[in-house]
Structures are given as C-alpha cells and as structure tokens.
Symmetry: D2
C-alpha cells in the first residue's frame, strides 16, 4: 500500500526533505519491546553523512518518539518517530521543475504529481526520508538480537575494490565499524576512492552484502511472500538500489545443479547444509542457515559535472550544473538502511508466523 509496508508489523513512512519533520509510524509492535534511544541514535549516526566522503549537510537527527512508547517500552499501539529537518537551506530549487536532474526523480515526480510535488531537495524522494526507516529498524534489530537474530551489512564492493565475503563471526565487528568494510586495506582504498570521486565532482557505486544469523527455520511463504519477495520489496524501495541477489544470485547462472545444490548434513545434532549457495532460503522459507544477500547500489546521481538535460517548459535540450551539498557515494550510509529494512521485513514475517507478542522482551 504505497507508503505503508508490512502485514503483522507495518511501517508507514512520510516526509519531505525540506518539511519541518520527517517520520514513520510502526503498527503491530508487541507491547514490552525495550526502546534503547542510544542504540537508535547510534544507527541514525551510521546513516548520517560524515567526514570528507559525504555531503556537508550534517543533521543531528534528534528524533522524538511521540506515541506508542511509555516508560522505556513499546505500548503495543502505533509508535511514531519524528525527526526534525534542522539544517534546511533555503536555496531556490524551482529550477528542478523545469530542468530535471539526470537519473533523479525530478522528471517522473513532475509527471506523476502534475507539478504539485514539493520539489525542494528532492522532496519525498530524498534519501533523507530513509532516516526514520533506520530508527524503526533500530528498535526491531534490538528486539531481534534479544531473540538471537543478528544482522550485519558491509560494503562488498565499491567501484573495483572488493571486501571478502561476510561470515557470521564478522557480525559484531562489522556493526561496530562506521565504515563497514571487513578488510582494513580494502576499507582505506574504498575511502580514498570516494574522496577521489568527490574531488572529481563525480560519484561511485558498489555492492552491499548482508548476513543474518539466528533466523529460525520455517519462516516465509512458498509464493508471494517468500523471504526473497518480502526482503527485495523493501530493499528496492531504498533509493539507488538497482539489484538484489540471494546466496550465489547471478552467480548461479554459470553453474550446474550438481555444483549449486546445497547438500544436507547433520552437524551438532541439527540439520544444516554443507554449502550455503541458497543464502539460507529454500522454497522461499528460511532453512536455518545464515541468510546472505547483496544489493547493487548505483553511483549517486548528484554530481558536479555539467550534464545534459532538457527544459520541460521550452521542450528543448539544455544543460545543468548542480551546486550545493551532495554525496560522492551513499553506499556506506545505505548500509544502515539495508540493515533497517532487513530487520523490518524479518520482524514482520516472524510476527505473522508466531503472533504479535513474539518480539516482546
């Protein structure tokens, strides 16, 4: 339903880049989930721009929970988080209605909303709107961790620099890193590459890789609500994500079944698979192995080079050079959003299966 997602636990997202506040409402939360405001702040910080590798627009994300929480715990009624837009520059953005930025949503928004959209700073399409998702995700991640379900996302690839594949043992380490790369040398190279792109007025893309440990067996549905379906639905709503793959993903294309199949084995008295090419999911349902998936993140479309575009009023070709605040990469920040929507998707599937009270403390 457009800006509401989820069945047992549903999230409604709202706000524009230059409104007074952005926010989210979460419905269906169990009563008694602990609200750790420090952890929410920590997750929001991971999404916030920082250093030389991000936009200079730095906001403190002073979120407020205005409903659904009482004395440090969820009440079970809809929980609303508001985040003020504090650092809004009153620049003139009206040119965006005429000369749309390439690969941004300016043109499609103009067509869809007939010119009524709030075009300032990308409006509702701004990456900033993902901040409330991160806050909601933080509450759910905290609750999932209490049930032994842990999530971590690292930058698997940035431009042509690769990190190694993430393993369950990396989860805590990765979650403590601001720039989520396992290999220190890859981390430095990637940051240098972002800085180089920034100096060049350009931007870079990459691949995020996510692991989930501790997911119970038997969650997900055979058809329309396979874990892959529900997760990809949310992952593709993150601006800039243009590809999602589970387990070997596109790597399966070159393989034969005899190599690709994951043989079952008994290990520690439990059914496991010897390999995990399917990323912890068989037939759309969790099989108890770690879940593993990757998202392709395109380079930020906002660059400082002159670009070809059109004047919609005059219906003729023209060019555009952006100025202001922009990110040379958003992949290191998108990581926090991927973690968040993963938590949201899994919490919803779990609550659907085990009932509303599943995540209760």
């Amino acid at each position: 339903m457009k800006n509401t997602f989820g069945q047992s636990i549903s999230v409604t997202l709202f706000g524009e880049s230059h409104g007074t506040e952005i926010g989210a409402v979460v419905d269906g939360l169990a009563p008694g989930i602990r609200i750790d405001e420090e952890y929410i702040s920590y997750c929001l910080d991971l999404r916030r721009p920082y250093g030389r590798i991000s936009t200079p627009r730095v906001e403190k994300d002073n979120f407020r929970i205005v409903s659904g929480a009482f004395e440090g715990y969820t009440t079970g009624t809809p929980l609303t988080i508001l985040i003020p837009n504090e650092n809004v520059k009153s620049a003139d953005y009206s040119y965006l209605k005429d000369t749309p930025r390439p690969s941004h949503a300016d043109y499609t928004a103009e067509c869809k909303y007939h010119g009524f959209q709030d075009y300032r700073g990308g409006g509702h399409f701004s990456g900033r709107i993902t901040a409330p998702l991160v806050a909601v995700g933080a509450i759910l991640r905290y609750a999932l961790a209490d049930k032994g379900i842990k999530i971590a996302t690292h930058i698997k690839k940035l431009a042509d620099i690769s990190d190694r594949e993430i393993r369950v043992g990396d989860i805590d380490t990765v979650n403590e890193k601001k720039f989520a790369v396992i290999s220190d040398s890859a981390s430095e190279l990637m940051q240098s590459r972002i800085e180089a792109a920034a100096r060049d007025g350009d931007s870079v893309g990459g691949v995020l890789e996510t692991i989930v440990a501790g997911m119970p067996v038997g969650v997900g549905e055979p058809f329309f609500d396979s874990i892959e379906s529900v997760l990809s639905h949310l992952l593709f709503s993150i601006p800039a994500v243009k590809g999602v793959e589970f387990g070997l993903g596109f790597g399966f294309a070159d393989m034969t079944g005899s190599v690709a199949n994951d043989p079952f084995i008994i290990e520690g008295g439990e059914v496991k698979t010897a390999t995990n090419n399917n990323g912890g999911i068989n037939g759309g349902i969790s099989n108890g192995m770690p879940m593993l998936f990757r998202c392709a993140v395109k380079p930020t479309p906002s660059i400082f080079k002159e670009q070809s575009t059109v004047s919609m009023k005059e219906m003729k070709d023209t060019s555009l050079t952006l100025c202001g605040r922009h990110d040379p990469a958003i992949i290191h920040r998108a990581r926090a959003v991927v973690d968040a929507v993963t938590a949201i998707a899994l919490a919803d599937l779990l609550a659907m299966r085990y009932g509303t009270d599943y995540l209760k403390d």
Copy 2:
C-alpha cells in the same frame, strides 16, 4: 498476504502438484476485458515442458474459467481459472519427508508445516503451480497490449552462452519463439547445452532478460511500491529466481555517476533519455523509456546424480538418487512465468493509478 498479491488487481494462487486441480483467482479486473482462450493456451504451452530439453511429464493444461467471465469478456467479478492435474504418477513420494532433496523445499516445508504438507511431487512448491499464473498473466498481457504496453522475455544467458540484449524491436519476434533466444546460433548452443546436461543427469541455470515497451510515464511509488519493489516481489516468488536487477543492475557497481546517469533529451517532441541505464525507472516511477530487467535462474535442483542428504528420522547423513521426471533446465519455461508476473504487476500499478476500468476493452 501470503498467496494473494496485488492491490487494485489481486491474484490468489492455489494448488498442489498432485491434487485434482490447481488454479488462481483474479480480483479487481475491469469488466469488458476480452478473454482470448487461444492466447491463454499459447502462453500455457510456452511454460509446458517439451522436446528433449524438458521433463517428459507433458500435460495439456486444459484450463477452465469457472467464474468472472461471460460471453467472452470479463464480468468485473473474481475470475477463477482451474487447470486439472491430468498426468499425475502415483509414485511413492513419502521418502521426501525423511530425506529432503538438496536445495528443494522438502526440508523447509517439513519444518514450516509440521509434516502436514502434501509432499507428493513438491506439493504447493512445485513449479507446476506457476501454470495458473501464466494463464492470468495471459489475460492481462492481452489487455495491456491493447493499451500499447508490450512485454517480452528472452534467455540472456544459459550457462556460459549469451544472447544479445533485447530491444523494443525484438518484442514480437521473441514472443513468437518457443525457445526465446534472439540469436539463432546462441539458441542452438543453449539447447545443445541443456541436452548435454540432461544426458549427464545434471541441470543448468541462466539469466532471463525482460523488456516492457509502452509503459506510461508516472506509474509507481516513491517508497514501498516502487516499480522495482512490486516487480521484484513477484519475480522472487517464482521458484528458482535468486537475483533481480533493473537496467544496469549490478553493473552499476563499477561505474561513476557521470557515466551511469541517463541524460534527458528531447526526441520526437517528447522527453526521453539518451541512454537507458536505469531501465525505464527513476525514483521507483516509470519514465517512459522501455523497462528492462533481468532475473537470475538457478539450475534446477532436481538432478539424477547421487546427492548427500540426511535422514530426518534418524538424524544421520545419507544419500539420495532421484528418479522419475525432471527438467535439465527450467529457464526456457520460466520465461513464460516472468512475462506473466510482469503483466500482473504492471496491470495492478496501472489500475491503482487510473482506476479499475483502465484495462477495459
């Protein structure tokens, strides 16, 4: 909602491989959509196994429309399609409950359904359950084509053999091919490769590529119902799909923004983009360019080689050698399912935007 998908047009899917019938209900169809039973049969035939490259289980898919149609047109009330399971072999499948097939859903089904699942022939997880989806998709594709919206899917890659990228001009040609490959030489190589895998008791995977021409500008939603989100949700519910990418997809990871961005241009008095790296979608919303996306299809997990698995009753390692009817590849058949779910997703987004009567004849 599990086995129901869609908001304005919703599809409910049901059935098991060895039940008497499988089927689907479509709700929210405009009244007055023409039902072309021959076209439905044609699409079902494309999904059906055939020749040496598929399983010998050949069913005629004699569908019946038992509600929602009257005198050759939809009535506007729920349309139900039933397809009998005519060629069901009464083999003993009960071993699947104890010794799950690697990379199949036998194990996860046993965990999720506590042993109550109909395990015969994969039950509700059987690829056969996609036949009603194809029938529903055929009705909607026919109606979309009347509105100038055309869909085609080809095998972009099978094992290490590639077809060229699909273009709008290929749509009709591809749709007339039983084995959907543009290049004749690639087509022959791919079919040989499948036959080789069959001889070897093995299977192969690949990549399907889909193009949509004629999609109106301004359809889709900024967040949870981006076109990418809605399409991927359905695509990932097709058994064997493990990756989905739009436009350049994972290819974006290596690019800079200055190369990846699609400049706007005026062409024929309309706003277009000079390149189409974003696959016709900006900010989750159609931009009027052809939509382009790819699905990774894993090799069929059913192979005839001996595989390692476990006995769940005895909780010890064992092995399993399948016999019976199996596909050495399903990618050439999955193509019909991808076309179908694409039609379903787009019809739903269009009906949400333009109202229930949009697809009326």
Copy 3:
C-alpha cells in the same frame, strides 16, 4: 481488497449463480486443522433451502476440496473449496438487464459493470455465493470449538414474532436445530408466517442474534480493527443484512451511563462483568464475557407481486412480475452464513494475535 478478506487468515470468494462452480480459497490456515467433511455438509445443509418455507431450487452442495488438504488435515497452503452449480435452470434472464428488480442489484450491477456482468440468476450477487463461505466457516468453527470457542445464531425476531435472548447454555441446542429458534411456539409461529408470506407471493424479514462463548480476553484492536469493525465488515457483506448491533446496540440510545455500564466483579476467581450490555467487547477488544450481536435481515426482495420498475433502454416506467424460484424468507438460511463469517472473523483476529499455528489441532 474486494473479494478477499482477512489478514492472517484470508478468504477469497468467487462464482456466479449460473456458472459451473462457485467456491472460495482460504489462505493462512494453520497446517493440521482437521477437515470434517460431514460437519461441512451439515453446515451447508443449514444454508440450503428446504421444505415449504424456501425456494424449490434444491442443490446438494457436493463440495470438493481441491487444494490445501491432505489425508484429512489442512496442509497450511491455500485451501480451495469448489461447489458445483448443479440445478441451474436455463431460463431467460436477459430481461433483468433492461428492467431491474426493485431492491436487487440488477441496476447497480449494470452501472458498475457496464453491462458485462453475468446477469443470470443474480450472477455474483446471488445469495448462493454465500455457500462457499459457509463451507469455509465450518472448517474454522470446528477448529475454534476445539479451542473452546463456540458460536450459535438464532432467529431473534421474524416479522413481529420474537424468540427469547440467546444464552451460552443454548448454544448446542440451537446448533442442532434446522430452524434455529429456541422457543418451540415462536418457531412454529415463525414458520407459519413464512408459509403465509409464500402463499401471498410476498416475503418477510427479521433479526438474527449471535452468541460466542469462550472467546479469550484481549483480542481485537483499539481502532480500525476493533472486533465490532471486523465482524460488521463481514456481516454487512451478507446480502440482505442492513443493520448490525453489539450488546444493547441501538438500545443504548435511551439509557444513562449509570444503567448502561457493566460493573466488573470477581466470579470464580476471574474478572467478569455483572451485566453484559457491551456484548463482550470493551474498547474494541474482547473482555472474556460472551460476545453478543444482532443482524437486521431485510425481507427477500424477490416477490411474486407485480412491482413498479423502469425500462433502462427506453428510459420509461414499466412493471415487472417475477416468476421462477424464490424464497419467501432467507433469514433461517442466513443464520448459517452469520455463523460462518463470525468464525472467519474471529479465527483471523486470533491468528493475527497468536500466530498462524494457533488453530492447529
């Protein structure tokens, strides 16, 4: 979503009066719910016309379960029930498209479906379409009874003849009656009144009253999914229901708070209320007392007297005299439908609260 209802357990209804089959799909059922086909038949029989007080169209309702059940139990995948339309008279119904029957849906259907509706015998608006609802309800009632939740509906009022208010102790007795009236004398009077209406070519309405015993405390939602909201949504989808009230309902209008309030008391070590004016629901949530509600059922609009109507083609007044098979009352049959939708609504609310497996045997 139009013809699909429910969140954790959802029902999709389809079919037309003169199609080959009508049916329903239930999704979200726990695996392992027992399917008692005799009980389903018993409930269907209660809805079927019988004796002199109903339409002579008598069908055996030979339902078939074509998916979602295996060896006598639900599998957990979508369960589909088909009921053939066996006794379809090939009368000419096409006059209904021009001269709509007063208080029927002929006119609104023509407007909504632009003339594409299957008008034969009321098509999708026929009361017959409630038969699959009764079958689905029977499965859920059986499962709810296993959890100690019992439902019964009697005819509280027919024309000006009243039965006494139903109590928990009446549940089994009422459920064993074909004509669900507690008082034998009221029962005879009511049946005579229906026969008199039949002789007169006329019809009668009434009020159904439903009781639910054993509902756990704490089910339902404060706002949009209050128990009253969910139940009334389903009850008002039963053709002929034009009013729904809970507890005292419209009787509250004349009362003061000091008389209307239900004082809490301790009884048998549990919190109860001394009176039950609120019909077991406080703030939209079950309070553990028996649930009690009533539905107003209008007189069957099909009567044999000449009625004023219009010719839609000629846009002038005309008159219409129906012939064929009709019910002088449907309230005694609607009782089975009310029981069924009550079971569906409560099962859904319970599964949402306690998880998919709640109704497992």
Copy 4:
C-alpha cells in the same frame, strides 16, 4: 491492518491522550487537493468539547501538517497531521491499572498489552484520538464537496428526544450548526437533557443519522467491500458506536418485501427509486439515491457516580468514583467523527474505482 485503514486512500492513526502529540498519516491522496486550514479548524472545533454540555478539557487543536502538502495543496505523497496535546493534566492515573473503569477499555487494554499500555487518560483508547481523523476527514470532505458529494450528520435521537429524519435539503443547514439538530425545539430539549445528566453525574446516549448526497452510481463491491461493509468498519472504530444500520435498518425486520422494496422510477430523465428504504445502496453498491445510515452511540461510560469494579491486584470486588473532566454526552461531538470517517470511506472507494487522481482539484 490494525491502525491503518483503506486501500487506495489509507489512513494511519496514532497517539495517546497524554503523549506530546497525536496525529494521522494519509497516503494515496491525489496531488492538487486544496488544503483549507480554516475548514479543518472548523471541523475540529465541532469535535471539541464546549459549553456546559461537555468536558472542561478544552484544547485548541492547533494542528500542523508536516508532510504531503506544499503551497496550499496536497503533493500526492503521504500527508501527516500532528495535533499537540496541550492541556494535559498530570493527574495520577495509575489506579486505572488496578481498578478498571466499567465499560471502558482499561481492563481489556491491561490484558492485551500486558501492562505496558500508556494508561493515562485512556491512552490510545481516548476519544481524543479521533481528532486527527476529523482533520483528515475535513480535507477529504472538502475535496468530495468539489465533486458534488456532500455529507451531513445530525443527532436523530438523544435519550428519548427525537429529531426528524434528515433530508438532502438539510445538509448545509446542519453543517452550519454547532449542535447538529434540525428541529430547534428538539435541540433545546436535548441540550437540557445533557445538562441534566451532567448535574446528576450521569451521561446519556443517542442515535446519529448521516446523509450523503451526490454519490455516483456504481461504487462499492458485491462482497467483502460493500459500501455497508467499508463504512461500518470505520464507524465501529469510533469509540462508543455500538450499532450501525443503513436505510430502514432494523426497521426492515417487521416489513414484508412488497412494502420494503424500492420501486424504480424515471425522474428527470434519470433512474431513481420512489422510496429509499435501502439508503442508497443495492447489493453493496451505490444506486445514486442519497445514502442514509444511523449509528447508535452509547452513553459516555465516564460518570461521577460510585461504580462497582474490581481490584485486579487483589482480585476482589471494590468500588470506584471518578473525578476530573468528563463528558455527560459525546454524541454531539461524535457527529464530527462520523462525518469524517464517512468522507474517508467514500473517498477510498471512489479512488479505488476511478484512480488516484479522482479527487484532484
């Protein structure tokens, strides 16, 4: 979905009586709907307590629209309204967790939320939470009026005092009245009755009657989304509503079909019905006649007389005498909420039928 309602236009409601803010998010609004803040204030004022006949808790309802509106019009993205809780008394409400108020939700909330609910002032169950619904309803009523669809609700009955039935010609007059009664003498008697109840520490209930003029023919669905179903779903989520009836409603019970049926006639070149016993709805679908329905509103459960209740900690009977601010009647305020949810329900049904842009200016 619990606190979200609607398919094409959906409303998410949040907040607690003593939180900092309450509010609502509306998704699916067409872009370009005019936001008339004065009209929103006017509607909120009608819901606010006033004079001697209401609780002395008077809040200004200084709503803020924080997203989805730009330069006086909706943008088409989610619109969020916040209303601060300004007049919150810091009384001690913790006794409510032990000694639940009769016919309030204190007991059921304690059971459902395991003690984590915000019990202050009724928390999420407070009638105050309907204020954002009224604000949302005001936006939609304004837009509907532009399309010629007008809604009005009056007090048909309060205790034993009755107003006459509302007619289309009364709509504007009623909407201009603060105390919505057509007959001046009935109005005075009703207000005196409320004042008398107030003096007595007691409360009174009544019946609200709503009329909708200008509804297009052919909106609504045969089964689960009949107009009656969708409206009653929302009406029953208003605290204190315990009965809903359409047209003659429970009055049908005493009638024969020959009297109850609404004959079709041609009037002014259009199909009409000579009577309107069905309240403008046939087969769940609007027939173009004015829609008419009534809601039973129970007397406010908060009274100042001593009442029997229990101590949940000690599990023994006790008594309770409330003090503080309470309404001797809420029916005159609930009228604004009924108007609002009627607008929400109809706008949703219209947008589903005619597409997202239907309500555009």
